[in-house]
Symmetry: C2
Subunit: 497 residues, 2 copies
């Protein structure tokens, strides 16, 4: 006779296989699907999502989860029950009609957003933000929250995090970052970047990115790299992890760091314990922790002085003409140029976080009724001025730049900066555990770091909640100190502050 636990897992295996199929369908949609395939793909995605929803909320699943809780469970089993119950609870609480309503509204909103952005016409889009905020507020009410509705939304992407804690840590970096950006601006130091505007053929860019990802230990027998307009990493299994990037002949570093970033996500997915494949115990903790893995590789490793010691000859070998008059030091400085700019996805590793803080404050304010969507253009520009000292010439490069709100996604943005903060904490712990890490990187030996991340972060899966994981690995709770120390050290020397 099987236990209730086994019955839960048997049912969940079907959910997980549906997720695998859905991941492939989503990947294909962004990479190879012919344009006219969109309608049937949309229908199939909806049907399979519905089947997964049915299974995770079924009476049988609910009863088995309840009964399993009173069984004597091993630690790994407890993790699975805790997290499957969490997903099930949330799915049960949000009415199916509300989910459908959000899907339909968002589907229409995306079209409006695309047009509004093209025509720089925020007033056309603003009412749709209000509609989606109203719907997401209903989600928050249905899900429940401790202090404020935004808690329930954040919780979707960063489970167990609270708005209050997130706000506190964000506030602790705002001042220092604004200050640092100003000091950099007035330092008078300007890295040379002309050589990055040369022509870099796409095949060669691809080769360089693959070389870096292979060095990181990304297994191309258990993964791929393709092209999509919006880069991402997805997985259909621990041995089937897919990265995408985009290429522009005159932006070699966009694809290069894009690939390193996505490969960082990919290593997390490839690093899960195969024994626990398809269960929460073998899955990632949160978007913030996921982002810590991509940012750690992209910034702490890939934008380090040590990295360019080993990688500059590779770069010069792939691009002998473009790099003919460039030094190792100049590449290092160029890829770390700090400059206030309007577009989040093009921002450097310091100002990026100010873009996120701005969005977090706006989202929180919307759900606190501090302002309505109609005010957002003014609020946005005011905050840009305060944080970065610049203002967009139009909403296209301001409040209209991101797709997230048209998706009805509120609570997603903060995970990007949480990722940066976690990354700095994890990296410091890795430096502690791996003496000579920087020398290893300078020799191109990236596997010890990959293995450390695997042991401490990837393999445990969802064993620990995000906050517990960082405490477990670093001995400290979430804090901005490591990140601030990291950028202070790095940019002090780069900009001779």
């Amino acid at each position: 006779m099987s236990t209730h636990y086994e019955r839960v897992m048997e049912m969940y295996r079907e959910v997980s296989d549906l997720y695998g199929a859905l991941a492939l369908m989503g990947w294909d949609q962004e990479t190879y699907m012919p344009p006219k395939g969109a309608a049937s793909r949309g229908r199939q995605l909806a049907t399979l999502s519905g089947m997964a929803h049915e299974r995770i909320t079924s009476d049988e699943m609910r009863a088995a989860l309840d009964s399993a809780r009173s069984e004597s469970l091993a630690a790994d089993e407890e993790v699975n029950i805790r997290e499957i119950a969490r997903s099930s609870d949330r799915a049960v609480k949000v009415p199916v009609d509300l989910v459908k309503s959000i899907a339909e509204t968002s589907s229409a909103a995306i079209g409006v957003w695309i047009k509004a952005r093209q025509e720089d016409d925020f007033p056309a889009f603003a009412p749709w933000i209000d509609k989606l905020v109203t719907l997401q507020r209903q989600v928050a009410e249905a899900v429940g929250y401790e202090d404020e509705p935004y808690d329930a939304l954040l919780d979707e992407y960063e489970p167990y995090a609270t708005t209050k804690d997130t706000a506190a840590v964000f506030e602790s970096i705002r001042g220092p970052l604004v200050d640092l950006v100003q000091r950099i601006a007035s330092s008078g130091v300007r890295p040379r970047t002309d050589f990055l505007e040369r022509n870099y053929p796409i095949d060669d860019q691809r080769r360089m990115g693959v070389t870096a990802a292979e060095r990181m230990g990304f297994d191309f027998e258990a993964g791929r790299l393709d092209i999509s307009p919006h880069p991402f990493c997805t997985h259909m299994g621990v041995q089937d992890v897919r990265l995408t990037t985009r290429y522009s002949e005159t932006l070699p570093m966009q694809s290069f760091y894009g690939v390193i970033h996505e490969a960082g996500h990919g290593l997390y997915e490839q690093g899960h314990d195969p024994v626990h494949e398809g269960t929460p115990r073998g899955a990632s903790v949160s978007l913030g922790i996921h982002e810590s893995q991509s940012r750690l590789w992209e910034n702490m490793v890939g934008r380090s002085r040590a990295f360019w010691r080993f990688f500059f000859p590779e770069f010069a070998a792939v691009f002998p003409d473009q790099a003919a008059d460039v030094s190792e030091e100049e590449v290092y400085a160029a890829v770390n140029e700090v400059k206030p700019s309007l577009i989040r996805v093009e921002a450097d590793e310091i100002t990026y976080n100010l873009h996120i803080l701005l969005r977090f404050e706006i989202e929180r304010g919307l759900f606190m009724n501090e302002f309505r969507a109609g005010d957002l253009s003014a609020v946005w520009n005011e905050k840009m001025k305060a944080f970065l000292g610049i203002e967009p010439p139009g909403d296209r490069d301001g409040v209209l730049q991101d797709i997230h709100w048209s998706h009805g996604s509120f609570g997603y943005f903060p995970t990007y900066t949480l990722g940066n903060l976690y990354a700095a904490q994890f990296y410091r712990a890795a430096e502690r555990d791996l003496p000579g890490l920087s020398d290893q990187i300078a020799r191109g030996e990236l596997l010890p770091l990959r293995d450390w991340l695997r042991d401490h972060i990837h393999r445990p899966g969802m064993t620990h909640r995000a906050g517990d994981l960082v405490r477990h690995v670093t001995g400290e709770p979430l804090t901005a100190d490591c990140f601030l120390a990291y950028i202070d050290g790095k940019y002090r020397s780069l900009y001779r502050l």
Copy 2:
């Protein structure tokens, strides 16, 4: 209140969306899936197939189908109920354990077959054929049949066809084909083929294939062409139809006719009535009818004198060096070279059918207990000698050449020759309805033929059973006469018989 018919269709829509997902998973497995992804993909395919099976055999589906039969239905609705009931009946009859047993045995058999083929060791594989025949015999007993067990297997691929009728029509072509091949051999005429052994870069081959498929009216906004070891056509929707081919730099005509062949299949899928998408009314009739569409384009059109009138300049433009000393007439003769050969997939349009007849007779004999798998090497070689006058030097190029039997697929091969016979019948009807068809083809105007096929064969979907469709379109039942007349006319002049 919805009718029982509506309830059936509502449930079937889910089945159909699962099929769409399964088709994508199968396509990806052959094209882009990283090698280590196989295990999780296998599990996901099994889970989703199981869900489709559950739905089509559920008590609710069975009851709704039963009740729908007594409703007053429109003609299209009757087609849907007839064909969904057919699938449901078959799925209900075959025990799930038997399906599983076949999947497991076949999964092991494929490995044995690969090794046996490499080592030219048929005795190692023979017991697995016996095992799979025993299992498929159980399928036949479960499904039921009129005259002989093979009926039930053939019916899986060519619904409503019988072994007896198929055997009769096959027997009517065996003598004439054996005779024609001999007359061609003794004609002394040998087309020049040296220029096809030159180097044809793969990018250019691709371009040439795409040009032909576009001319045929294949819509690349609603489809793709990729590379896979075994070429195929699959679809995730009427607007998402995917072809694959394989390339060898010294076999330009393999990929060229491969693409035309798959695009012929693709046009059938793109030609279904979008109103009926995802229902039997909007689906293909049988493998034989499907193959008629690919063979008609590949052979009757693509290997015609008229086709090369328009396409020779394209060929010479893409391959100016390789075609420098070649005439239009020489290309036409080369792509129609008839020569007994050992490997089915490399055979010309005449001898191909003798390869099929041989397999059909062997399969039927196995299920009639005329011989056992252990005898097959001898039986194979004897038939090769009788049909084509040649014998394989080893089983690798004989009885071990095809993967089908290791899949447990018996009853599939005959659909290839049925396709050739149907194709000739349809093509004669098209010539009757489209005066000047050959002149149109010579001018590269292929859309009138595409549209005729669409109107008469693609749009009706499963309205007619295969036998009825050919009668409806051509005025005659399945017959070999058209095919024999077609090849007689064509090869008489090519080989000056």
